[in-house]
Amino acid sequence: MKTETKDLTTAVDAAELLIGALPTKGKVAVLEHLLKQLNASDLSGLSVEARRALLQVLPEPTQRPKWQVAYDGEFSKLEVRPGIHGKREVQFTLRGGLDNLEAACTEINVAMQRASNYPKGGFLVYPSGNNDLPSGEDVTVTYTPVIRDSGGRVRFGTDSAQSHQGLLSSLGLAFVNNDLHRLACGALRVKEGFPKDPTQIGSSSDKGDLNEGRVVRTENGSRSGAVRSYPGGVCDNVWYGDDAYDGSVVAGAAPRN
């Protein structure tokens, strides 16, 4: 059998092969060195040809991903798109504002029942009594759910106005046992944050983090890609009892509240 070998005719070939064979750490070190050099380069004296060649080689910054419609109803619309660090951004539109609030709630509740992870106990969206919403015009709210780690540090969505509380009050909505993020996941049949590594799953001895998106063990021991919601939709950093899923809803388990 003929074996193909690469001639090491030039130093460049050798360097290519060496870089290719490096472990990730080594590659990152090489990359950091190259990027430093690139950043320090004086670009003002470049020829026209060189500038054009650089524009050919350097990648154009990509546009933000487009919104994907999770569901599109008569009175409301829910869209999601990948946000930072793989978390999802959610955009909710209430068509006609306050005028359609109740109709939108009914519509959302029906839409949620079609979700693959709709809990046995059900959940509801209802008007919260906020009358500050404008009438007759669309209200759109975009948010990234606030995620905190076990130390209470905010990891994603540092703007408190983007929190559940801000979202819900600005929409005039309140959610029982769920949140828009989970609705989006259910409607798209996406089990976000579902780890392959079982050690990442919370158990009775390791409660895990009170985070959204944290995967916890359900009552029957099965794994579930749950998106945690908090009583009143507000993450207040309080530990809710012994069970990892107390005070929250876990997909596949009947909600307690």
Partner: protein
Amino acid sequence: MLVMTKEPKNSAEEIEEIKRRIDYLVRTDQISVSDKIAIAKKALEIIEKSETEKEAVQ
């Protein structure tokens, strides 16, 4: 009347765009490390070649 040949109208813009793209290359996590290395190497080659040519002319 002497008419000056215009520099490509957007040379400053081109430089700005190049800087913007370098910045993107540094920051993005949508490009793998290997691809970033290849792109950075190629870009440095172009810059070095341009500098060498400039020195040769001088």
